[in-house]
Amino acid sequence: MGWLVRARGVVAVKLLVCAKAVASFRAPVRITSNAASVDPDVLEFGPNEWDLAAAEEALCLRDQKGGEVVAATCGTSTSEKTLRRLLAMGFNRAVLVEGVPADPMSVARALTDVALLEQPDLIFCGARSSDSGHASTGSMLAELLGMPCAAVVTRVFYDEERRLAVVERELEGGLIDHMEIDTPAVLTIQTGISQPRYANLRALKKAESLTIDIRRPVREGPPAYSIRRVFHEQPANHAEMIGGDAAHIAQRIAEILRTRLS
């Protein structure tokens, strides 16, 4: 129980950032013939924007207070590049729990044992992922760990002496919720909290040679859902498209503006 026996006055922090290699399309959407999934050939993988914001926030906190920041993901070999990017940004270590990052419950379960082993003071997750967008993994992970959680956080002030974090959360309509949370805790981080630092070529090259700690998932359990079929829905409505060169498009737009604004 590292966080219980850590001596008072020691300022070093231990931070865990849960990141996901998200899929995006590098070619037009294609669905497998049995409608079970998206054709993997048209997908490419990269770091999730929200997780990069979480990573930056954790790195800043580590740089300020000293200590260690560890990256963890649940994924396959397609996730390794994302972990190496985080190592190049300055993470101390990276852990890959082997598994298909499907539903948020399965991901939270896979990450639980990493967190139990690392015993961080704070766990940062991206508030959502750009590919599946459940925005739920952080909250579930906190519950499985018995920790409190603050969702959609835009500022963090960590007081390691009082074992507290004061955070700001962004609610709908631009309302900011100020909250005080006991630590250890899970914070899900909104973009805009900080601009993720670049990993320069040298750092990226160096990260290639670092070891990623690959673990097997320990816990088993049912998924939160399973996918029955997927389809590429042609939107019910589609804009009337204006063709031609820029001058022609502008002219048509000016006409539309005149009638619609009158």
């Binding site: 669905i31 309509g173 919720d177 939160a224 029955r228 997927v230 939107p235 804009a239 204006i242 502008a250």
Partner: protein
């Protein structure tokens, strides 16, 4: 199928999305509506909604905190054993409901925008990859399900009357995450984009301060107010008060003219009340084109240049 709907409340008052959740739930079975808020009895009249068979009042202290809400919802689900629990997919919804699903081992999905029963089994529809792919989900057998539903995906339930009200008492406990106060993100004195009749709105394609200045010039020339999607606010190029979307402002202009905005669901939630939407984007598959009235696949700077010549 027995459905438990949790009324969405913000600063102690039920929100409009509650009525949408009731519509979604009542299409599947009788709805029990739980009001989790301080002094909930005062909201009973506005929560007498068609499809609701019982209202449960759960008196929770103060503004939203995850612990009392998740404790209350766990108690409610264990006491009432609903087949399906519905919560709004909002910032506060995601702050506690997934934890409840994890604690009780429920079937779960969020940002759901369609629901149906097929041979008695629940099928939920949600989108992946922005909105490019739609998926139908099914849930583990003989397991209750908790879903977070996307706002504005169902019509609001109409008012009804004479629905029985029961008080549901939950034990108080310590809150590990405590609300301190609220502030507004908007810069005082800045204009309110929610009231502007003509908005030119810029997105990620306008990548720097020079680009923002270029569109500010265009907006002034054509008599529009400049707004933006989230990425430009995140990078500090636009003030938060100018952000359109679920996490920014909901706008209702006569014309909404989007330059280089792809149309994430977060953004589209803010423009549903715009009368006419125009969009210019280099990506022909940008989701914004599925909500726009008029669109053009073109370079935003070229169009700005040509448009300015006409004014």
């Amino acid at each position: 199928m027995n459905v438990l709907v949790v009324a969405e409340s913000l600063r102690g008052a039920p929100q409009g999305v509650t009525r949408e959740l009731v519509t979604a739930g009542s299409r599947l079975g009788p709805v029990t509506l739980a009001l989790l808020t301080p002094d909930p009895v005062r909201f009973v009249p506005s929560c007498q909604l068609e499809g609701v068979t019982e209202i449960l009042t759960v008196d929770l202290p103060g503004d939203f905190e995850p612990d009392p809400y998740s404790r209350a919802l766990k108690d409610l689900i264990q006491a009432r054993q609903p087949d399906l629990t519905l919560v709004a997919f909002t910032i506060n919804g995601i702050a506690y409901a997934p934890a409840v699903a994890a604690a009780l081992g429920l079937g779960f999905a969020s940002d759901v925008h369609g629901l149906k029963l097929e041979r008695g089994n629940l099928v939920a529809t949600r989108s992946f990859y922005g909105s490019l792919v739609t998926a139908e989900l099914e849930f583990p057998p003989d397991t209750p399900v908790l879903l977070l539903l996307r706002p504005k995906a169902w019509p609001p339930a109409v008012l009804s009357r004479n629905i029985s009200v029961t008080e549901f008492v939950v034990p108080r406990g310590r809150s590990r995450a405590r609300h301190i106060g609220f502030t507004e993100a908007s810069v005082p004195g800045d204009l309110d984009i929610a009231e502007a009749p003509f908005l030119i709105s810029i997105g990620r394609a306008v990548a720097d301060a020079e680009g923002v200045a270029r569109f500010q010039r265009l907006a002034e020339r054509v008599g529009a107010t400049l707004s933006s999607s989230r990425p430009l606010v995140d990078s500090g190029l636009m003030p938060p008060s100018r952000q359109v979307g679920q996490s920014g402002k909901v706008v209702k202009p006569k014309v909404y003219f989007a330059f280089g905005i792809s149309g994430a669901a977060e953004h589209l939630a803010g423009i549903t009340e715009a009368q006419t939407i125009l969009a210019v984007n280099t990506d022909p598959y940008a989701p914004i084109f599925s909500v726009a009235d008029y669109g053009a696949v073109a370079d935003v700077f070229e169009i700005a240049e040509e448009l300015e010549k006409l004014y």
